[in-house]
Symmetry: C2
Subunit: 479 residues, 2 copies
């Protein structure tokens, strides 16, 4: 079915504005808005002001740079502001909140970049530069859409509420509080949230993302002697904390990834036929995983269970040990106190507090069975809940129609294995549905050297996001 | 039985020289001969020259400062010389090689010393200062003995061959080669070797030491992905090297110190009734161990099995992991490559190459049973053999008589849990018996802050070492 005329018109306009859109992204990439680094903080603020000016020039209203105060642990380092803006205030229209971030990961040419990371460089279909795909490309695409509509004098059939933060790469400091504070104020009446800050699964097929796993991060502290000991003097004489910890570690998860903690499997929502079927036609192969990890060490022999393992089942990873010998070479130490680190990726319907209960009980039981005289403590370091949306709700239906118009295919419905805490924060505080609608590809190298976005993704992305807004107006909100 | 008259005379002389002996130790401690630190190297050399002058003034002959060349890994840092000297060359006498070291561990006041570490300070019966017990006290005692005999015009009934090195605290670089090179030259005809560079087990009962454990240090490398992965993206999808390693670790040793590698227990020399009896009357309790480690986490409920575990049984310690997350806080990393470090303390009759065989076979078998697609490599990093002497041989008989004369008690016969590679090097290259005859106490804090030697140990130590020389002449060499 051909798209409606105003959408075809929009697509043509976007195509014709391609050079201007690329220049706009180049201008954004040129500002090194690295949030992790205090010295770059003025550049992050400069980027916020660039966003403010762009939004104002494009007709946004009620633009506010929300100050978030001093960064915790610093003397006088101000957090960069969150940029809020509106485009349209027609009370008869639905309200869509658009989230993105204007800060970027650190980047130095000498890290291995082929080009200056803060100069957008086009080679073939690729635009290289820090932030090109994460997340300046998508953010600038929202600006591009405003320009296209303005030039066409085409109405956007929904009201837009923009929320752009400048600390996403550094823990989204201040965002959660702001969402709570503005839920009934600036964000009042929001009907849907759209976030474009993740990626296609592979490099050829568009996706819509309807879930992320949560994470609960634990420490196991085993302590015995008052100070590190020499293994010559005390090897065989004392209970060694590192030996105890190794035994506890081995009782958490087996080498094939099966979690050995009783009670967790029972919490996992059963896989329905319908959900299982969602995995049948995903355009991604085991070779895609192998390419990502650079080795043939995927646990599963087929892609379907591997994807389900990443997206809809919990996993347990052992990250390391604090307090033991970690340098190259040999040291004959018996570490006196070791802190083992592991985390569990959570999925529906694992409740964090119930998870803590079974984890603590298991670790304590396993340790007590060792018969060691050392002391063992297990603690939760931090957690974040999973998020799952209904991939058939009105927002997803709109995004699916938009994607089909632009790419000519049904998008794959994906989840993310990693957590994106803001999804849940928006959903819970605004009592609304969230969609992750990515622009970039899985091979873009966000956070890596030579980060890029394909010109085609950047331009087709603008079309997809634009069409999505039109179809949102058209779709009936679910009950 | 009262000691012979010349020994009583010697003891009286030593007592009368106490102030001069303490001053000699103060002079030695005042030279900060820290071998670990290139900047201090001139001080180490200065200390060698101080030794040379002392020996010459006391009538030693054939004094040589053996140059050992440039320290490996440095451009032009000369190793400190090994000081060789003779006292007596009567072909009718036995020849005794005396080993000691004139270098010390690093020490800074701000590390927690109560006094300047390079100024000998007396408080009550204690002489505080870096090197006071390790090993300048014992080394200077040998000089003190020469002075006492000189003043008494008393003949030393054995010829002495001194070998004092300046790199003991930094791996004894160059010593092994020198021993080999001089075995048939400077050291030709040596009948016994005496090393005073270890300590009493506790703080009240003298000991003679007849054995040290060896050590074989291994690495287990488990590698999978080409680079570290994010546990959100790949947790549950890939075989994690750190999980594999934890499982292998747990199959090496149990929390009670039992080695789980088949074939090692069979190599250990059976405990005879005679040897077992050596442990019955050792003046050291479980509380001594608990005091040493600062906790009540000794595996054994009685001191005898704890001492046997330290001295005459092998042990396996897990030291740490290279490549995993080791900092405080949380990092959701799946380490791509981890290197586990463990070592085995060896005892008679474990042969290092046979040990390697069973270790490699076990680790490979355990890993293959995990069903992981990762790669595992087990390697030997370094090893050093155990050393055990006959605690009833002529050198030990002489030392026992000397100890009884001075302390009025039978010395405990001890071993060391840690390795002292030079024992074996002297024994094997000179084809002779070695005795460890300590001067200091177990609580002296060698290598620690506020290192001390008791005045009583220092003075009685000189008597013990002196009487030992007389009884060596008296004892019949074993066949």
């Amino acid at each position: 079915m051909a798209p409606p005329q105003q959408i075809t018109q929009l697509f043509d306009k976007i195509d014709s504005l391609k050079p201007q859109f690329i220049q706009r992204l180049a201008d954004a990439v040129a500002i090194p808005s690295v949030s992790a680094d205090a010295e770059h903080r003025p550049k992050v603020v400069e980027m916020a002001k660039w966003m403010e000016k762009q939004l104002a020039d494009l007709g946004a209203t009620d633009i506010q740079l929300k100050e978030l105060g001093i960064e915790e642990g610093t003397k006088d380092l101000h957090l960069p502001p969150i940029v809020l803006a509106r485009y349209g205030t027609d009370p008869s229209k639905k309200n869509v909140l658009i989230y993105g971030h204007y800060d970027v990961q650190p980047a130095l040419k000498e890290d291995g970049w082929n080009t200056d990371p803060f100069k957008l460089v086009q080679e073939g279909d690729c635009l290289y530069g820090r932030g090109s795909t994460d997340d300046k490309g998508p953010v600038v695409d929202w600006l591009n859409i405003l320009q296209a509509h303005n030039e066409l004098k085409l109405d956007i059939p929904v009201n837009l509420v923009f929320c752009f933060e400048g600390m996403e790469e550094s823990g989204s400091l201040g965002l959660d509080d702001l969402i709570k504070a503005e839920a009934e104020k600036y964000f009042k009446g929001v009907d849907a949230v759209c976030i474009s800050d993740n990626y296609w699964l592979g490099d050829s097929h568009p996706v819509l993302t309807y879930g992320v796993r949560g994470v609960s991060y634990y420490t196991i502290t085993v302590e015995g002697p008052a100070a590190d000991l020499h293994s010559g003097l005390f090897g065989g004489v004392v209970h060694e904390p590192m030996i105890d910890l190794s035994h506890v570690f081995s009782k958490l998860v087996d080498p094939k990834g099966n979690i050995l903690i009783p009670g967790i499997a029972e919490m996992v929502a059963p896989l329905t036929k319908e959900e299982d079927a969602l995995y049948d036609n995903i355009k991604f192969g085991l070779d895609g995983f192998e390419h990502n990890i650079g080795s043939q060490t995927v646990i599963h022999d087929n892609v379907k269970p591997a994807l389900q393992a990443r997206w809809r089942y919990p996993s347990l990873s052992i990250h390391g040990v604090e307090g033991a010998f970690y340098n190259p070479g040999a040291k004959t130490v018996i570490p006196a106190k070791v802190v083992g680190k592991f985390s569990i990726r959570t999925v529906p319907n694992i409740e964090p507090r119930k998870l803590d209960e079974v984890v603590f009980a298991h670790v304590n039981k396993v340790f007590s069975e060792l018969g060691s005289k050392n002391k063992c403590t297990v603690e939760l370091l931090h957690d974040g809940d999973y998020w799952v949306s209904d991939p058939n709700n009105w927002s997803f239906r709109a995004a699916r129609r938009a994607t089909k118009d632009v790419w000519g295919v049904e998008p794959d419905l994906t989840r993310e294995g990693g957590s994106i805490p803001i999804t849940l924060s928006f959903q819970d505080n605004l009592k609304t549905s969230v969609i992750l609608l990515p622009v970039g590809r899985g091979d873009d190298g966000a956070h890596s050297t030579n980060e890029k976005i394909n010109v085609s993704n950047y331009i087709q992305g603008a079309k997809t996001l634009g069409a999505y807004l039109h179809y949102l107006a058209d779709e009936q909100k679910d009950a």
